[in-house]
């Protein structure tokens, strides 16, 4: 079982970002030391109310701190970008990570981002599909000629070829997006937002999609969950709540719920209700048991842990990383 440290790199306004960045580098080094198998970084633009460390520079720099680990984008908002740019940038990341890079992508949901990149929500699916096609061709073919809806490759060459074409995974919340992941991507990144019962329903959507496409079960199926470990569930909720509640309020304000399936799309609800059957809180035993349950039910074999929410101090993050690696993960491995 692989377990990945998922880094949002989002911090409250006013925080000294140079100091926060140094703390993130310490987290990356600690992750390697503790046996985490990978580092993932998410991406948003115009991320108010948070300050954010941008994804591609972060991963390029972090690769120097933890050689041997897998590095993932979780996710690149692919419809915003041109395929030649992403193919060349990620080929560099592939090289810096010694061929241990995975390109996670998604369609995005925020108008402020679409507009700033000169596109619109209605274009996001076709752009995602053609960008993936173009990136794969650029990585593997000598010269590519292809006319897309928002770019034209005219004998274009990816200046650096990855050691091997990195896997492309799609992060998806809604059923059609999950089906698309089955059809055109190498794996589905199971999102942290949907309730567990929703995920268990959606794994069937994914399986049907694989069957339709005549594709085998993916080598790696990653599962992300928000989690916090303390002596008791009540204490975990008490300690995590201030940070997690603020983070999900921001998701709600940004419209993340609009990308989620009917019946499980209210991220603005009261915290206890939001947390129930969605976030993993409790003692190490309790959290491990919930993870084992989800991994067995879904077939996931990679766990992505977004440990730090905006405002959570470094010492709490470090403590949770130790608890995850030293207590929870061994229990999960036993239970699987």
């Amino acid at each position: 079982m692989q377990f990945v440290l998922a880094i949002r790199g989002q911090f409250p306004p006013g925080d000294d970002m140079n100091m926060r960045f140094e703390e993130l580098m310490a987290q990356v080094r600690l992750a390697k030391q503790l046996g985490f198998t990978g580092i993932a970084k998410s991406c948003h633009y115009s991320s108010s109310p948070w300050q954010e460390i941008q994804q591609i520079p972060f991963l390029a720099r972090a690769a120097a701190e933890a050689p041997g680990l897998t590095f993932l984008t979780s996710i690149v908002l692919l419809p915003l970008h041109k395929p030649l740019e992403i193919a060349e940038q990620t080929a560099a990341l592939d090289l810096f990570t010694g061929g241990r890079f995975i390109l996670g992508v998604g369609i995005g949901y925020r108008d402020v981002e679409f507009k700033a990149f000169g596109t619109g929500r209605e274009e996001r699916v076709p752009r995602l599909v053609e960008n993936i096609q173009a990136i794969r061709r650029l990585w593997t073919e000598d010269a590519v000629t292809m006319k897309g809806s928002h770019f034209e490759l005219d004998g274009a060459v990816c200046s650096l070829k990855p050691r091997r074409p990195p896997p492309i995974w799609i992060g998806a919340n809604a059923d059609p997006a999950i089906r698309r992941a089955a059809h055109i991507a190498d794996s589905w990144m199971i999102n942290p937002h949907n309730r567990i019962d929703t995920i268990l329903r959606q794994i069937e959507v994914y399986k049907r999609g694989l069957d339709e496409a005549g594709k085998p079960w993916p080598k790696t199926l990653p599962l992300a969950r928000e989690m916090f470990v303390a002596r008791t569930r009540a204490e975990a909720v008490r300690l995590a709540r201030p940070y997690l509640e603020a983070k999900y309020k921001a998701y709600h304000d940004w419209g993340q719920g609009d990308a989620m399936p009917e019946g499980d799309n209210d991220l603005g609800q009261e915290f206890d209700e939001l947390a129930r059957d969605r976030f993993l809180f409790g003692s190490a035993d309790e959290v491990a048991e919930q993870i084992v349950g989800m991994m067995k039910a879904t077939g996931a074999n990679q766990l992505s842990c977004p440990i730090q929410w905006p405002g959570m101090p470094q010492e709490v993050v470090v403590e949770q990383m130790h608890v995850m690696a030293e207590e929870v993960v061994p229990l999960v491995k036993q239970g699987l």
Binding site: P13, M17, N18, F21, Y45, S46, S47, S48, P49, W50, Q51, E52, I53, Q54, I56, P57, F58, L59, A60, R61, A63, A64, E65, L80, H81, K82, P83, L84, E85, E88, Q89, A91, A92, L93, L95, F96, G98, D111, V112, E113, K115, A116, F117, G118, A143, H150, F151, E152, L153, D154, G155, A156, V157, C158, S159, L160, K161, R163
Partner: protein, 338 residues
């Protein structure tokens, strides 16, 4: 006087790029140790017939090797990009490096790049200007509302602000007179190009000064220039060692159409090496290169020389040796003499 290292990062097809990257990291560590001031990386997409490393990931990765060097994205092909993307990535890099980022900006000239980014040559000046305006606003204002020709900022923000205030220096690369006037208007300084002859540059500096005068602006405190530089025991030896590699690079520039961006009368990048090198490259013995640099500083007023010392095909040992000779035998003389 500041001395900078430019690593093109362009290598022949078939070269082992993992190995080449390790060599570049060695050059960068050496430059940092030898007291160089900056590391520069250019940018091209679809760099055929070369392999290349992408600029921003490359410079960010090199922060781990060079704790002291300023990091010059020199130049970014600005019209290809969206301002929010660049503003946020460069702000992050400035934060990561504790305020050592330099933002180089240029128009670009290759159709394969314009097409690949869904734009074209006629749009490039407009996109360049509006992108720069949007980036400066994103770096200095809380939220920005601005309609561009290829983007719309609607209360968009760049919440992570650069460490350097109000923003990192913006060096505008320009070969042609119109572009030089634009550099005076929009840039922190003109980033004097590597391709034109010094005699051409002296004429262009008049264009730059007049443009600054018209705008009521002083000469910038920092005036950088890019040059091809190589040091050996003698000029003959230097030409023998670097000539084939440097000439190869300029043949590719000509095939890419770089000469079309240069002023008439100084646009022949296919001339025989001696003709091409004369008054253009800083090549020779340590004493000769020092004299050339001192003369360059005296006549032009430049105070930051960004040097490329390796061209595709040149062995690593020669690049390392040139860095060493520059730091030990050239820079002290230039500091004394300029």
């Amino acid at each position: 006087m500041q001395f900078g290292l430019m690593t093109r990062g362009q290598y022949e097809l078939g070269d082992d790029m993992q190995q080449r990257f390790a060599e570049l990291a060695e050059q960068v560590r050496l430059a940092d140790r030898l007291g160089f001031a900056s590391l520069t990386k250019g940018s091209h997409y679809s760099a055929w017939p070369y392999q290349d490393f992408q600029q921003l990931p490359y410079l960010t990765r090199m922060m781990a090797e060079a704790p002291n060097l300023r990091l010059n994205a020199g130049i970014i092909l600005l019209p290809l990009h969206k301002p929010l993307d660049l503003a946020e990535q460069l702000a992050t890099m400035d934060v990561m490096s504790g305020g050592r980022v330099i933002v180089g900006a240029g128009l670009g000239y290759r159709d394969v790049e314009f097409d690949g980014f869904g734009t074209n040559r006629p749009e490039r000046i407009r996109r360049f200007e509006e992108n720069l305006e949007a980036m400066k606003r994103l770096w200095t204002e809380e939220t920005v509302t601005m309609a561009g020709s290829h983007f719309a900022l609607r209360e968009a923000s760049c919440p992570t602000k650069p460490v350097q205030k109000p923003h990192p220096p913006i060096w505008i690369g320009a070969n042609a007179d119109g572009a030089i006037r634009r550099a005076a208007r929009l840039g922190t300084c003109w980033y004097i190009n590597p391709h034109n002859r010094i005699s051409t540059i002296l004429e262009q500096l008049d264009v730059y000064r007049r443009a600054l005068d018209e705008l009521g602006r002083p000469m910038p405190g920092e005036l950088p220039i890019r040059r091809e530089v190589f040091v050996a025991d003698s000029r003959e030896e230097a030409v023998r060692l670097c000539g084939p590699h440097l000439a190869g690079k300029y043949a590719v520039y000509a095939s890419w159409g770089q000469d079309k961006a240069m002023p008439a009368g100084d646009a022949d990048l296919t001339a025989a090496f001696d003709d091409l090198a004369r008054d253009r490259f800083l090549v020779g013995s340590a004493d000769e290169v020092a004299e050339q640099m001192i003369a360059l500083a005296r006549t032009t007023g430049v105070n930051h020389v960004v040097m490329s010392v390796q061209w595709s095909g040149m062995p690593q040992s020669l690049a390392l040796e040139t860095l060493q000779r520059l730091a030990e035998d050239v820079f002290p003389k230039v500091r004394q003499g300029s």
